[in-house]
Amino acid sequence: MRQVRRGPIVAVAVIAALALAVPILPLADPLHMDVANHLAAPSLSHPLGLDEFGRDVLSRLLWGARTSLLVAAASASLACIFGVVLGLAGGYLRGVTELLAVRSMDIVLCFPPLLLALLIVTLLGPGTGTLIPLLAVLYLPGFVRVVNAGVLSVRGRDYVEAMRALGARPTLIMARTILPNIAGPVLVQLSLAAASAIVLESGLSFLGLGVVPPAPSWGLMIGAARSTMAQAPVLLLWPCAALCMTIYAMNTLCDALRDAVDPHAEPDRLWRRREMPPQPSSPVPSGNAVLDVRNMSIEIATPLGVIHPVRDVSFSLRAGETLAIVGESGSGKSLTALALLGLLPPAAHVAKGSAWLQGHNLLRLTDERFRRVRGGVLTMIFQDPQSSLNPVHRIGAQIAEAMRAHFSVARQEAKEEVEELLTRVGFPDAKRHARAYPHQLSGGMRQRAMIAMAIANDPRLLIADEPTTALDVTIQAQVLDLLAELRKELRMGLVFITHSLPVVAEIADRVLVMYAGEVVEQGPVRELFAAPLHPYTIALLRSAPHDDGGLPEGIPGAVPSPHDMPPGCVFAPRCEVRQPACEKHPPPLVEASPGRATRCLRWRELA
């Protein structure tokens, strides 16, 4: 649980202290009537004047706070105590106890709360004696549910099992392990019940069904002032203001407690790309590359300072070529891909570089121009097809939508094209599957649907971000084959992001190895696998499962934290062949032979 915000606590504490101190404050008797001077204007002895019976308004207001808070505190505490006991017993002992303690609460919830309150009050008669138990019953189900849910989530945990195995009694287990875990939600529930009790008490009193006159209560005061509204409208104002302020303070306390118990960070902005800072315009690259990325760097502003998860990444890709980007998680490979589509998370932005696709620098496009590129000539498929498809729309509609975002296609024509696409990516019954919802398909089928969506507009470049990681091994091969086949057929460039070297060997023409945000080696797949020129690539190859049955070796150490990058070579701390020079200056990316580059000072010795 985090720190609770101060403001609301102070506000509620001040109101409560005032209510507690009422008997010792120098106030007029709240019940004393001075009928002759009824509705008198404010004076020195009666700062807020007198009410319709000539009673002191200020005194009644403060005594009313006492009534209100007493009812709220008493009923919420009662509900809390019984609710916790019932919830604990039901959740821990299960069986009949749970049925009686927890399920019976559903009956209370069948009645709208005010209706139930009304029924009980009129049957038992008004008064604080009825109000407190009545409100307690109304709030009981809330506590039972919260506690029961808490117990159910905790009781299976290892440490509770361990205590049970050690022979601890159930009551001890509950007191030691479960109560501290549910304290937060119960506290939130307590504040909610108290806030709601203040509202209900005042409402019932207003109707004459709550606190009995002449006892002071805000609800009664509002009810009474309503009848003298024409002569003294101000009398209405005081109790209304007091009541609303108290409820407001209680509500903010509820929110503050909830935020502390269940912290959730909210992003500042959604869907908004931050413009790249101005820089010298780069010339449009000549040559036959589909995609040409030069010196791209990405920044993220974090509470601990600006980090650079991608630094100076350059690569290019020809039509019909497959480039694999390989690296551990945190190497910056996914961010690189998202940056090319303008889909970086809100906190991240491209700090410099260029990325040319068909004469457009992607990194400098306006939102509207980018929209036309995305899903058209440049498309992407993601790791988890389950969460990447909208659960409430049919597969066919989601694919047709991709087409219609770029070309005007008639409905019927789109439908036929969707079926054609689905058949092409391997759906046996395209007509039927076009009408399926994502949850009705298997993981492999969902990824095929994502692929159909991605090739719907004949893209020049397809970026696949770990498209097989979430799939079964047998399905992985099928999806890889499909991608390779489509790439050949459509002559599109394919950027394949993965951490799996066997996948790279199967699908890629060239490989880009990334480590801690940098390209450390690149080259044609066969040469790179046969003769790696960077210690990280060597370690990566050794860590992959071997064909000959030899055991893979792990890489000792961990990827450096982006907040604490080594001053020299980023891989030096984990490198087996490092020298003092490696740790002084960052090594440059050098061309070892045409088409091959490495960021290692000792590459000649490795070769």
């Binding site: 009956i107 069948c110 009645f111 709208p112 709360p113 005010l114 209706l115 139930l116 009304l118 029924l119 009129t122 049957l123 038992l124 509202v199 005042s202 409402g203 207003f206 109707l207 509002i222 309503r226 509204m229 024409a230 409208p233 209405l236 209304c240 009541l243 609303c244 302020m245 409820i247 407001y248 509500n251 903010t252 909210e266 992003p267 500042d268 902005r269 959604l270 869907w271 589509l341 889909l343 929209r371 995305r374 899903g375 993601f382 988890d384 969460s387 990447s388 498809l389 909208n390 659960p391 409430v392 729309h393 939508e401 991709a402 975002a405 770029h406 919802y437 949850h439 009705q440 969506m453």
Partner: protein, 316 residues
């Protein structure tokens, strides 16, 4: 059994439980309706007359016999007659229920019109101008109880400005304009608090859905912001909002008491209060039964609507 049949059966069982509880509670609680009916001006009634009335109303029969004859009548749709004036309970409910429903529906429309668009804009730009403004306004709206808001509205718009009458009711057929004016104030009173709830729910849901992976996919397809917002974000964000709104509307079925009282609006709640005060068993039972059936039906409708909005529900 299909899932919706299971829901319907569960709903029927719930109605039966509620009806039984009401039947028992009202008879086990102290207070004799015959005595109350016959006593005038604090004079104790003649015991013989009380006994005769008991016999006439069937109150002298064993509880179980009363229970079964009672449910027999309920099954054929007979809610009995009022003990106060002998009028059929069903008829009185039939005149008053539409008035309360009109109030609730009008309040729901106000809440949706005010809450959903503002909640959407706030969710798309957290901590933007609309979000901050909405947070302040909704916090205020939630801090003002309906009877306070209603009383203040009467004070300002009826008492001071004389824009609208202070309360009452005129049938639509008699004077449509006056009718709408009289419904508008109580509906607004309920609607404002409800709008605050809808605003907060919508904001949270939109914020949550916008961060989902499938929104990234929608953007990767090259869809425009409006299409993404309406077709992908709102479509998914509406589900929790609909649930919460329906839940609140359900509690309003019995919860319009205060507003009907403040605006002197002759709805169902007023009938209930009067009936409870007079220990009018058949009428109390009839009103509570009708309200709880509506409540259960509303929850059922939400479940069914949910299945329409979210195709995953019917599969589960």
């Amino acid at each position: 059994m299909p899932w919706y049949l299971r829901r319907i059966v569960a709903a029927l069982v719930l109605v039966w439980v509620v009806a039984s509880i009401v039947f028992l509670a009202i008879r086990l609680v102290p207070g004799d309706p015959a005595e109350l009916l016959l006593s005038q001006g604090g004079v104790a009634p003649d015991p013989a007359a009380v006994a005769e009335l008991h016999n006439q109303l069937g109150l002298d029969r064993p509880l179980l016999t009363q229970y079964f004859s009672n449910f027999g009548h309920l099954l054929v749709g007979d809610l009995g007659r009022s003990l106060q004036d002998g009028a059929p309970v069903g008829g009185e409910i039939a005149t008053r229920l539409p008035r309360t429903l009109e109030l609730i529906i009008a309040a729901a429309i106000i809440a949706v019109v005010l809450g959903i668009p503002s909640g959407m804009l706030a969710g798309l730009r957290p901590r933007g101008l609309i979000d901050d403004l909405g947070a302040v306004l909704s916090a205020f709206a939630l801090a003002v109880p309906v009877f306070v808001l209603g009383t203040l509205l009467v004070l300002i718009f009826a008492q001071h400005l004389h824009w609208v009458p202070a309360g009452g009711y005129v049938p639509f057929a008699q004077d449509p304009i006056r009718h709408l004016g009289l419904v508008a104030m109580p509906a607004l009173t309920i609607g404002i608090g409800l709008a605050a709830v809808v605003f907060r729910m919508t904001r949270t849901a939109v914020l949550d859905v916008s961060q989902q992976d499938f929104i990234r996919t929608a953007r990767a397809k090259g869809l425009g912001p409006v299409r993404i917002l309406l077709h992908h974000v709102l479509r998914n964000a509406l589900m929790p909002v609909v649930t919460v709104l329906a839940l609140h509307l359900g509690t309003l079925l019995g919860g319009t008491v205060l507003v009907e009282y403040v605006f002197n609006y002759p709805g169902l709640s007023g009938l209930l209060v009067a009936a409870v005060n007079a220990r009018d068993y058949p009428e109390v039972q009839g009103v509570v039964l009708v309200i709880s059936i509506l409540f259960v039906l509303l929850n059922l409708a939400v479940d069914l609507l949910y299945a329409v909005l979210d195709p995953r529900v019917s599969a589960a």
